[in-house]
Point group: C2
Chain length 383, copies 2
């Protein structure tokens, strides 16, 4: 079935919205954070563990799965759900972001993008039709249109040409799309230029996609610019379709995105920082390798309900990460993903109670202290 978004409540003072999305694998509340399972595995975690974190949808990367093990193999396995044995919904990206970030040099034409594999340097060609064909075979629940993800900064002229191409590519992809149990999203690009974002959004909306993504943020701009890009996009999107901000998972960015009307987020951040021994906490990120945790026999966060916090101390996790024991990054991944899903649970409550601004201010005070977070550069996507 096509996903269905139900808008249940608007927050009084902002664009924030509480809703649900109905999918092939159940109905989930939004705002929502999706963990990233780049290569059909959320690094270190079993599908059961991910499901228990109450994330709902997870993301898998078309580019990576196209190269290894290949969409035909996954098709013969019975699709991505069966291949990785995940019982919740799965969203696939288009491969566009990876082509533009991982695989260089590239040659962008109207037809598609020629580039070299980041694995063995072999020549590859990805087109809007090919991206859809791969995703149709992967049999995810939600597929993305193939887009050009431009760097930041980019000139107005380049951004304009690119956005027109992205719109044409979205239409071409949609015309070959043929998986009836899959939904297809259009991706709003346009860099930092409001008129381009608006134009892109309105053109895509004419095509009546099943949902809309916001791309081209989280590419090195500062947070203030990112938030503008988001506002310039959500502003022109229909109320009755879900909005997904791609590759964004810094806690404050999730809050600011929700305030601007975003429903879904994804990011590798929680698992990537876990592999570098970091944990999210209410009071900012902490590095578990720090010697101050050597004899800290309390959990990462005493009020967190995750498996790591309910069962292990910082001292034990420090022991594990210091010795590069796998269980260390696994426990930190569990905590970090749960931290972000708990954040979205909080935000849903805030929307119901019309107090998201107070929540945000309190969050910033605790998380950043005296730092001006608006000047922080965004981090890239991809593991």
């Amino acid at each position: 079935m096509k996903i269905k978004y139900n808008l249940l409540k608007n927050e009084k003072n902002t664009e924030a919205r509480y809703g649900t999305i109905e999918t092939n694998y159940g109905t989930y509340e939004t705002p929502m954070f999706m963990p990233v399972g780049t290569r059909a595995t959320v690094k270190g975690l079993s599908p059961d563990e991910i499901y228990d974190l109450k994330s709902g949808i997870i993301l898998a990367n078309t580019y990576h799965l196209w190269l290894r093990p290949g969409e035909d193999l996954i098709d013969r396995a019975g699709g991505l759900h069966k291949f990785m044995n995940y019982k919740g919904p799965i969203l696939t990206d288009s491969g566009g972001f990876q082509v533009f970030s991982l695989a260089r040099p590239k040659d962008i034409t109207e037809e598609g993008v020629k580039f070299k594999s980041h694995i063995d340097g072999s020549k590859l060609f990805l087109t809007p039709e090919k991206s859809i064909e791969i995703q149709n075979k992967l049999d995810s629940d939600i597929a993305m249109s193939f887009d050009e993800c431009i760097p930041y900064p980019a000139t107005y002229e380049y951004s304009k040409d690119s956005v027109e191409r992205t719109i044409r590519w979205a239409k071409r992809g949609k015309s070959v799309f043929n998986n009836p149990r899959q939904s297809l999203f259009g991706i709003v690009q346009g860099g930092e230029y409001e008129d381009l974002r608006k134009h892109c959004a309105l053109e895509l909306v004419k095509e009546n996609f099943d949902g809309y993504s916001i791309g081209g943020t989280s590419v090195g701009e500062n947070k203030e610019t990112m938030y503008k890009m988001v506002s310039y996009s959500t502003k022109y999107l229909p109320k009755d379709k879900v909005r997904y901000l791609m590759g964004v998972g810094d806690p404050i960015d999730i809050i600011e995105g929700v305030i601007r009307g975003v429903d879904i987020f994804d990011c590798v951040l929680p698992t990537r920082i876990a592999r570098h021994s970091n944990a999210f906490t209410k009071y900012g990120k902490i590095n578990l390798k720090n010697s101050k945790f050597k004899e800290d026999f309390t959990p990462i966060e005493p009020d967190c309900d995750c498996y790591a916090c309910k069962n292990f101390t910082k001292a034990y996790i420090r022991h594990l990460v210091t010795l590069n024991e796998m269980l260390g990054s696994r426990l930190l991944s569990i905590h970090n993903i749960r931290f972000l899903t708990r954040l979205t649970e909080d935000l849903r409550e805030c929307i119901k109670n019309d107090n998201i601004i107070e929540y945000k201010e309190e969050f910033i005070k605790n998380y950043y202290g005296d730092k001006d977070y608006l000047k922080i550069e965004t981090t890239g996507q991809g593991e």
Copy 2:
């Protein structure tokens, strides 16, 4: 409490025995296989997962924990159980094996062993008293006496001197042992010489240890020699105490050990081979990287009840291990440990049914085919 071994049934045709051991954390059936959690973690697995594999006791390494994070830290954490949050019984070794295998060069005197840390080269000194003191603080359920683990081959003269020292060391350790909830085992050494094994066993038995280990096998001898070493030891051990064959986990060695009257085994093999993409199966080890599994959409073993076999195909696990995804070695570790615990469950049934020899012959036919397994060199211990 001290552990208590209950001998419930002798197999009619061999020395194999079925029994139970009562511990601080429940009663478990023997023969039993213990997974190894070298540094207070069974590599990649959570303590809950290990417990669910029905292994019962797990092993942790005194040498590694002494160096990092240190026994005092674990003592302040409330002991090893609380530190790593394992709800089953834990056995610690004495550190002897690691001192003789990992840490070189060494200087063995009557007092103890001087050696250099394998981590930073710092000078260390381990004595029988120190080993017990460390283990008392770790607060495992079962502690080992400090012994000299001699290489193979070793001359009769060297082995004789060494075994006398091992007996004196066992007595010294016992005299300072002071943890009332912990049990203490003596370790039978003596290399390949029956009179030395006998002498060691009888001298230790006079001390009335809570159980007896068999050491100095799995040091590069062939299987035939290993099995002799085991027979030379179990033959002289009391029926009413548990027997533990240290560092042995090759499936056929478990079977042959059980036939010779061994109750408990431990080995890093299931987790170590998992990290090299290997899985135990009834028909021998398989390497999941092998391209023949690329589109094999069946589990590792269709009749295995482990989480990996119940949920994932060889094709998916091959995908994971080919890309070095953590979940791959985790799933293989789960399967391999469960393979060995299922083997011990089978052996318990064989003892009850007096058909262990038939079981062994069938096992060898399936597992080795035409290979003469008796000529295979034993692998070393330690991860």
